[in-house]
Symmetry: C2
Subunit: 225 residues, 2 copies
């Protein structure tokens, strides 16, 4: 039995070349294909034991999701978000996450998923498995947006969040960046459940601002643009 992939959490993709998309997504999110590296068609096709054509179809999908960058006649490479991209990503996050949380109903099943993500992040943090912490963090915020019950918001947001993961991987200081997230996710969840969605949204807004500053700081230190 194949271990449940991160991509499987998003949408119920099925067999065939969709599974290729999932496999690639997993590699990207796991950081095995590092941001910026060029992806040779023949090489990757060989690695996954698929034809070039099939691989190219997967490339188009992931390109449209923002995980791969496609330059005509020069092939595709793993997206490597610039500081401008990071700023844009956080703008989208604030717009979508805060807006969703503010209007979220009080008792929504996704709250369960949010709590589960917090717990997973807790465990992973104690084990100092920062990649897992990052994964749980993504799951938390995806669950938060799914409070909206809007497939389109969830899809767009999921893409943006996956892109942000690439930004984290680009400046690989995962422990430092992910440590504060765990408690703040928990705080947002508690306020949402015990006080009000609006109050939680306000906290989330600050949270995202701080998070953005941290990432941009890491970019500056790493000398990345």
């Amino acid at each position: 039995m194949r271990t449940l992939s991160l991509a499987d959490h998003y949408d119920g993709r099925v067999a065939h070349e969709s599974s290729l998309v999932n496999q690639l997504t997993d590699l990207l999110i796991a950081g095995e294909l590092r941001p910026g590296v060029r992806l040779s068609e023949t090489a990757l096709a060989g690695r996954f034991d698929v034809s070039r054509n099939t691989l190219r179809e997967a490339f188009r999908v992931l390109g449209e999701q923002g995980l791969l960058q496609h330059v005509p006649n020069r092939g595709v490479s793993v997206a490597s978000p610039s500081t401008a991209d990071v700023i844009d990503i956080y703008r989208v996050r604030r717009t979508i996450e805060c807006s969703v949380l503010e209007r979220a109903p009080r008792n929504h099943p996704s709250a369960e998923a949010m709590r589960a993500a917090v717990d997973r992040a807790r465990s992973a943090a104690q084990a100092e498995d920062w990649l897992q912490v990052g994964t749980a963090n993504m799951a938390f915020h995806n669950a938060l947006v799914s409070l909206s019950d809007s497939p389109r918001l969830m899809r767009s947001f999921g893409n943006v969040l996956a892109e942000l993961r690439l930004a984290f991987l680009k400046v690989e200081v995962l422990d430092f960046l992910h440590a504060p997230f765990v408690d703040r996710n928990h705080e947002v969840l508690e306020v949402y459940l015990s006080e009000s969605p609006a109050a939680a949204a306000a906290i989330l807004g600050h949270y995202l601002g701080d998070s953005e500053r941290q990432v941009l700081g890491a970019y500056a230190r790493a000398g990345q643009s």
Copy 2:
């Protein structure tokens, strides 16, 4: 010289199979490929004089954009938004458009594009060219979202708006649906420029609510789900 396609307005795509994506997008938006119709690979490949492989790559792109629906082993068909889709699309519109307009700076170059779109809509409405009115309407709201200077918001929103166009085409009562838009776009623009972004956002919120009701009404009358 090729006439400027609608798709060209979105992003600066270049040559090759991207132009195939643009061609297909134009056909979809123009309603020449009606919502729900199945797209045969060999037939379309012949029509555009490209190979099946190339066409399939374009299919994956448009599928990811939500314009085509891809069912494994059963091919692709033009997306045919259900009422649930329409509701979701308007939820996204409210979330993004209102949020963007509320925070929009006072003097943004996109205001020019918005005014141009209003003018085009005016002319087209007088000529009773409702398809053009719809196109100008799309341009207006795309310009509105570009007030955010956020490429990702613009991209996601553009996809959703194109999908909505398919919803309009599905219940083809274009004149009735598009007529009120012209003046209300103008109103939103004026209030944004002369009063305040926040006031304009409030008006836009009502506008979108009314628009949603109209579309859903048309769906009900057409007996569509």
